[in-house]
Amino acid sequence: MSSSTTRRGDRVRSPRRDPGTTDARPAARRPLLSRVLGVQPIGWLFGAPYLVFAIVVFAYPLVFAIYMSFFDYFFSAPGVEVDKPFVGLDNYIAVLTDPAVLQSFGNVLVFLVINVPLTVVLSIVLATALNKVVHLRTFLRVSYYVPYVTASVALVGVWLFLFGGGGLVNNVLGPLAPDPSWLVNPALAMPTIALFVTWKQLGFYILLYLAALQNVPQELYESASTDGAGPIRSFFSVTVPGVRQATVLVLMLSTIIGANLFTEPYLLTGGGGPNGASASPVLIMYQRGIQQGHPGFAAALGIILTIAVLIVALLQRRFAGGRDE
């Protein structure tokens, strides 16, 4: 793993070195094609399908989203021209003054405050335990990964059954069961969704931590135990700092995935209910943009959401990344 990392680093830099080596040779001896396109122009041909794909479904829609957010955009049948007036920042102002949008951002905040720390703590602890386990290793790995590989739509069905008014969870809790029940309780709807997503995604983060744990030098554990550190002490002073890069990645990924929540509030709480208490920004993007036909508003909301998430992710990288950044 560590050897492949250094090798990867070399390869990433190598394209920048190429022009230098190219210029060193007499230019006349090299055909025009390879002078313009590089030593092996066939690379362009091999990369072309991906490049076309990335331009058609990524770069162009990205630019289009920004363009649309400045217009009062209307849906029209193919070929029909409808006036789509330029409205400047109106869409952005409408988004930022919309109480439903503000509520949805608050909901996501609640979600992230529960989901992100829970994800980091549980995945690092379970990965550390799994890493040392000898028996039933495959069985345990499969059990933790299996919610991650299963469709949200299928798992939502079971959670509706488990956490419904007369569901098994309430039956087990008996008099402790919340009233109104989990998914129809304004205070508990978002935390329940956060719990669902933590459970569903945890396997993926355990996988990332397991990969990172293979890179923690064994000598560090040995010298920690020579210094008299027990397993708990060496977890905090060797494992946790050793997998810091993975922690930053887990923080950032779980934040990005959490901020883009859609399926769970749409299905688990019947469209962000009760009374918008579990509505997410992406759910509002769908309702306003596609159901109600205001794609300009939805695009502006999407851009604001993405920028907000990017800022949070960069802050996480800055503060959790530590000195080695």
Binding site: A65, S143, A151, Q245
Partner: protein, 284 residues
């Protein structure tokens, strides 16, 4: 690894086993409950209901949901959607991964940066413009092509391929080139046979994406006959289930049909779902 585990005292080892075991039960129980619930004639949400009782077992729920949404057609649609994405990813993703790892061409660094960037920008930001473009401008709603297009080449898979090709010794390629082999021959005869595990890992990773995807096919398919199973099951949950005799039973029956192919596939190929491959690819 083994040396650190010997350092654990006996109670600590037991504690670890208990934590991992309890976790595994917590993770697997909903799956077990999904199957039990799908087989119950009348929903039994009591604690005893979590254990199957012979007189309350039926396949009626499967028949009930199948009469409202065509499960088989849903599976076929999911299969075509997923198959299209996997095919495009394997063909074009391998080409791109090979170009990024082995070939020297101007623009390679920029293309690699683009692959990373595609992973960073969330699909949800692109959802509105893609909907306008694909459904409204190109008229590809209720169409397999429209479903497949935004997911056609999985960027994570491209990174997995690139990572594996990078690990192959360069001398291998230089020798074959001196023998006059073209790049396509090299890729097919030399590189691909050596990275077969990467193909399985990438196919597995790519497969779960579209098979489980809800948002995009939900936006783009309004015709029930074209909907992948995840979409028709979701519509059943939101619209139809309440009006049936055993709503949870039929929803869970649909959930079992949707979940089973991926879970079985994953268990069969789980050894290809290795931490180092996936981890290094995600980290770029």
């Amino acid at each position: 690894m083994s040396r650190t585990s010997t350092k654990l005292s006996r109670p600590q080892t037991i504690l670890r086993a208990v934590v991992l075991g309890a976790g595994a039960i917590l993770f697997l129980f909903p799956f077990y409950y999904m199957v039990i619930g799908s087989l119950q004639l009348t929903p039994d949400t009591s604690v005893a209901g979590a254990f199957p009782s012979p007189d309350n077992i039926t396949t009626a729920n499967y028949e009930a949901i199948n009469s409202r949404i065509n499960l088989f057609a849903g599976l076929i649609n999911s299969g075509i959607f997923t198959g299209g994405v996997v095919l495009c990813t394997v063909v074009f993703g391998v080409l791109a991964g090979y170009a990024l790892a082995i070939l020297k061409w101007r623009g390679r660094g920029a293309t690699f940066a683009l692959v990373l960037l595609v992973q960073v920008v969330p699909f949800q930001l692109l959802m509105i413009p893609l909907y306008v473009l694909i459904a409204r401008n190109y008229g590809l709603s209720d169409n397999y092509l429209g479903m497949i297009l935004p997911f056609a080449i999985n960027s994570t898979a491209v990174l997995v391929f690139r990572q594996y090709f990078l690990q192959l010794p360069r001398e291998l390629f230089d020798a074959a080139r001196i023998d006059g082999a073209g790049e396509l021959t090299l890729l097919r005869r030399v590189a691909l046979p050596l990275v077969r595990p990467a193909i399985v890992t990438a196919v597995l990773l790519t497969f779960i994406g579209p098979w489980n995807e809800f948002l995009w096919p939900f936006l783009i398919t309004k015709d029930a006959a074209m909907q992948p199973l995840a979409v028709s099951l979701a519509n059943y949950v939101t619209n139809v289930a309440a009006s049936t005799a055993n709503p949870y039973g039929s929803v869970l029956a649909g959930a079992v049909v949707l979940a089973a192919p991926v879970v079985i596939l994953f268990i069969v190929f789980q050894r290809y779902f290795v931490s180092t491959d996936v981890g290094s690819a995600v980290k770029g």
